[in-house]
Symmetry: C2
């Protein structure tokens, strides 16, 4: 199976690593908006092309993994490339999924390609767990918690404040909220009760730290609805202690069964991830196998993780997965 | 969607309750080996027939849920009824899945029916989690723990000992083993290190308690490989404190990503269930929806949970699940 990567940032490099863990896959090409000569891949012998030349290589690639951002890249790129390739993206702007799905579905269906959008862990593995748990326990409550992990969007928002040189923001679930959910108390939780935010900020020399802290904790949408802690540290400390990109989270469904709802049940799914982009890439690469198979079976158009039978993700045969994993 | 229940024990009654939580389903009939007049259902107006008359009612039922035991009932019943009905069972003898699958597949495929075997939580939801996690993290370790919960098989084994009137056995994961796995230590665990067994036994008057305890803790296969605790209690205490059928457990996959496996990841799925048979039934009923749909689409033969796209389990449309659960 020949995989192409479009966009060689954290996610693209994660896809490259994940392909190396799957012997039935091969990295066929990387496409970049930068000067191709400026990129050094981890995998020897793989060509790097400018993104403008991607379409010329469409017959060399079974599945193209589009590693752009959800804000401006993917809404344009995924429908565009779905006309020429089988594609997968990790589009994660939940509110815009219906429009994105429709655009990609049209492009893929009209040209006989197979596409998967919103693949990764949330959306992705978390979505699957929400769906399965809702179907199994129709009378119940859903809870999703994120973290402890780095939020790129919140880190960026801090960096845009005047006087800030660098910053890293962690989203942290409130332990008491997790406990209440695990105890089956079905709490009604406000935004503030679910997560706290912890910020590590490198200020420019002579900057007004009190003003920066106030701008952070009062920032609408990003911080004002949360209990936020701000730590000022040096660039060296930031690089030493906060250079990773960990993340994770929890999906719960608590529900009842019985003639009168007399029996409680708790379903919990959790992820603890050292590297958010590498785990996301690993999910995407497993689904690349599925998309290639579906395409070979003549299934076209846009899919989500909900539409794909789990067996399609595995390199093993039906007999093998029934014998070893059922 | 019209559902039939074959076998009205704990599982059959669980299915009856689960159907009441799904407005698109209706209990059409119950089939029993007992005298039909001796059964009182929880649902008014539903006919009870003798199992010998089941085939005569095949056109009144979309999916027949076979609620027999895995040891002797299901190997015969599921292939037999798959000739006349779309069927689901909860066959859980892992070692015999290949043979059972082949028998059911032949019967269903030859007659144009759709069958699902080994549905529930293990096999079932745990199997799904093992498969997804293995595909996402190809380099890693799997761990499944069961409990705290009642093992019917182990309780029955104690009851067969001379001098024992009644008994209940709990399987309990060892907390230190769970912690080691959660810490990413990838421990190699013996049977004894993974689970302990706790037994509550009602002895006959004048029975030799020391002999009973010794027979339990030394029983091969069931107890001799475990640290087992035996408590002698009264029948009243057993009824008061141990009449429930709770269960649950944990599925872990711990794995690495990156160029040299430098990043660790932990996937954990856990269930805490007040009623083992009612939760199993709830899973089965969600899959009954999927089997009915697949049958209506012309898909025949035997399936497992691995073969069914998650969206088929939901009463919601593709648009709705993408908007609310992705």
């Amino acid at each position: 199976m020949k995989i192409g990567i479009l966009g060689y940032g954290n996610l693209g490099r994660g896809v490259e690593c994940a392909i190396r863990q799957n012997p039935d896959m091969e990295l066929a090409a990387v496409f970049t908006r930068r000067d191709p000569a400026s990129l050094t891949l981890m995998t020897e012998g793989v060509p790097v092309y400018h993104v403008d030349d991607a379409i010329a290589h469409k017959d060399e690639i079974d599945v193209l993994i589009i590693c752009g951002g959800s804000a401006t890249d993917l809404p344009v790129q995924t429908p565009e490339y779905a006309q020429y390739f089988n594609v997968i993206d990790s589009f994660d702007t939940h509110a815009n999924v219906p429009v994105h799905f429709a655009n990609v579905d049209k492009a893929a269906a009209e040209t006989g390609h197979t596409a998967l959008i919103s693949c990764g862990w949330d959306p992705g593995m978390f979505s699957l767990n929400r769906l399965y748990a809702n179907c199994v326990l129709p009378e119940g409550h859903d809870y999703t918690f994120w973290g402890k992990g780095v939020s790129q969007g919140h880190s960026d928002a801090i960096r845009r404040i005047a006087g800030v040189k660098n910053a890293k923001q962690y989203t942290i679930p409130v332990p008491a909220a997790l406990e209440a959910v695990r105890n089956g108390e079905n709490p009604e939780l406000t935004t503030r009760e679910k997560h706290t935010r912890e910020c590590f900020v490198v200020a420019e020399e002579g900057a007004d730290l009190a003003r920066i802290e106030k701008e952070i904790v009062t920032m609408p949408n990003y911080f004002s609805d949360y209990d936020t802690t701000v730590h000022f540290i040096t660039e060296e400390e930031l690089q030493r202690d906060h250079s990773g990109i960990p993340h994770g989270g929890f999906v719960f469904r608590t529900g009842v069964t019985g003639l009168n709802g007399e029996h409680k049940h708790i379903i919990e799914y959790s992820l603890t991830l050292d590297s958010n982009p590498e785990f996301t890439s690993s999910v995407i690469v497993a689904y690349a196998r599925a998309i290639n198979r579906l395409h070979n079976e003549g299934v076209n158009g846009c899919k989500t993780v909900f539409d794909i039978a789990p067996a399609y993700l595995s390199p093993l045969s039906g007999e093998e997965i029934r014998a070893h994993l059922l």
